[in-house]
């Protein structure tokens, strides 16, 4: 059943302080809508529970990408197009630029926002594994002020997050401390565009010189961060796998163990896009592919 626009209110105060006051005075009454690429799909399907919406599209305070020497700060209202076309994001945070390129099609990328992707909180959201791999921090804003929180742990369960009813995400902060890291991402889906992932991975890692058995030095895994989407109620960092591989030489045995550990860490389901069995197998394969390519990247740098 289509929704009837006559039954909905949508206002656009146009200024962030006015909107925050509204959210504070009437918490839970007004649903923020940015680019609308998720909300309007629910509206079209007759599944939008909220009847009152407040537009946060194109608010100057939520746009813009600030570059500091140690971090970049991305306005939550930035679109996927803004992300993929930004020189520094494309160079230093490739996984986020790639996620933006892999989201929907061009028309969706021109409207969908990074903040919207976070708050819509689909476990299959394209940008979230990259935010986990980059250890992003979020700045949340309300009439009470701002607070800065790590993105990891922000999503607590399916579509649940540590966001107060009167809060908006204002900024996503990414530290520029990835010099020498190898970046890896795959989105597994039915086609190259306009596909929700069956599975997706974003991972970064470094190869370092370490000591192995027998006192030799060898290339070992240094810092590594592996994040998967579509395998649990929220995007997931594979901390068990990371612990297992850190400080180790990459050998066929390690790859096998990492694959098994990855499969044990996730809770995939059967749904309209894929099956738990397929997701499980592919998760193991993607972790192996990442570690294998990480190993090669370290060897090439010698």
């Amino acid at each position: 059943m289509r929704s009837d626009p006559a039954e909905y209110e949508l206002i656009a105060p146009g200024k962030l302080p006015s909107i925050l006051s509204l959210l504070a005075q009437q918490p839970g009454q007004w649903l923020p809508i940015a680019g609308g690429t998720d909300v309007m799909v629910q509206f079209a399907a007759g599944k939008l529970a909220a009847r009152r919406l407040v537009s946060i599209w194109n608010l100057p305070e939520l746009r813009g990408i600030e570059i500091a020497s140690d971090e970049i700060r991305i306005g939550a209202g930035c679109t996927y197009t803004n992300l993929r076309e930004h020189e520094i994001i494309a160079r230093e945070f490739q996984l986020l630029a790639r996620a933006a390129r892999w989201t929907g099609g061009i028309a969706n990328q021109n409207r969908g926002t990074l903040g919207g992707n976070i708050v819509n909180a689909s476990p299959a959201a394209d940008s979230l594994p990259a935010l986990l791999a980059y250890e992003a921090e979020l700045i949340l804003v309300s009439v009470r002020g701002e607070r800065r929180v790590p993105y990891v742990g922000f999503h607590t369960d399916y579509k649940r997050m540590n966001l107060q009813p009167d809060e908006l995400i204002r900024t996503i902060c990414l530290r520029r401390n990835l010099s020498g890291y190898f970046h890896f991402a795959r989105k597994v889906g039915a086609r190259n565009a306009q596909a929700i992932s069956k599975l997706c991975v974003a991972a970064v890692g470094r190869i370092e010189i370490g000591r192995v058995a027998g006192g030799r030095t060898a290339n070992v895994v240094g810092d590594v961060r592996i994040a998967l989407g579509s395998v649990a109620p929220t995007p997931l960092r594979l901390t068990e796998v990371e612990r297992m591989v850190q400080g180790q030489s990459i050998t066929p045995e390690l790859l096998q163990s990492a694959s098994r550990a990855a499969m044990a860490s996730i809770q995939p389901i059967d749904d309209i896009r894929s099956t738990a069995k397929y997701r499980s197998a592919v998760a193991g394969n993607l972790v192996v592919e990442f570690l294998d390519q990480l190993c090669t990247s370290g060897t090439q740098r010698e």
């Binding site: 909905y8 799909v41 099609g105 409207r111």
Partner: protein
């Protein structure tokens, strides 16, 4: 960047109906004002209030691109845009673009290459192609595929459309 809505449409509650508003925007170069619900889809405003039926509905959920228009120069799916968010914007539909000299090369190329059969996807395909050629006058086949990845066609099998876009790029570079 467009103005936000400080001077935006006034919400009229005097009718006893929920929030009809007077929406002002530029459509195909002409200033228009329409009286609509803020949550009316831009697609419906274009087709119903403005009589511009060149923009089509294929899926209603932003996946097929038949509803694509250019808003402030950016390709967007009008089925996903609430009318209020189009206030003060500069819209170009297929009807408006058809009057643009840049359209000629695309039209010739589509005819030459068989890029249209039933024509339902065609307005969206043309606007997506225009959006591409504006940013990238010499696209590769991969560039074309990506630029049109949000436009679905049930008739052609796509190759004729990609060839048409490549041909149009060629024609435009000759001028």
């Amino acid at each position: 960047m467009r103005d936000t809505f400080e001077n935006g449409p006034k919400i009229d509650r005097s009718l006893g109906e929920l929030s009809l508003c007077d929406l002002s925007l530029t459509v195909n170069g002409t200033a228009r004002t329409v009286r609509v619900y803020p949550m009316q889809r831009l697609l419906d405003v274009l087709r119903n209030e403005l009589g511009l039926t060149g923009t089509k509905e294929g899926c209603g959920e932003g996946e097929c691109g038949s509803c694509a228009v250019l808003m402030n120069g950016e390709l967007v799916n009008s089925c996903l845009i609430p009318a209020l968010q189009a206030a003060n914007s500069d819209l170009v539909t297929i009807e408006g673009f058809a009057g643009n000299p840049q359209f000629t090369a695309l039209q010739s190329a589509f005819l030459e290459c068989g890029g249209a059969q039933c024509g339902i996807c065609t307005p969206g395909m043309i606007l997506a192609s225009q959006h591409l050629l504006t940013k990238n006058p010499e696209p590769t086949l991969d560039d074309i595929r990506e630029a049109l990845s949000g436009n679905l066609c049930r008739c052609t099998g796509y190759m004729q459309i990609f060839e048409a876009v490549a041909r149009a790029a060629q024609l435009r570079s000759i001028v």
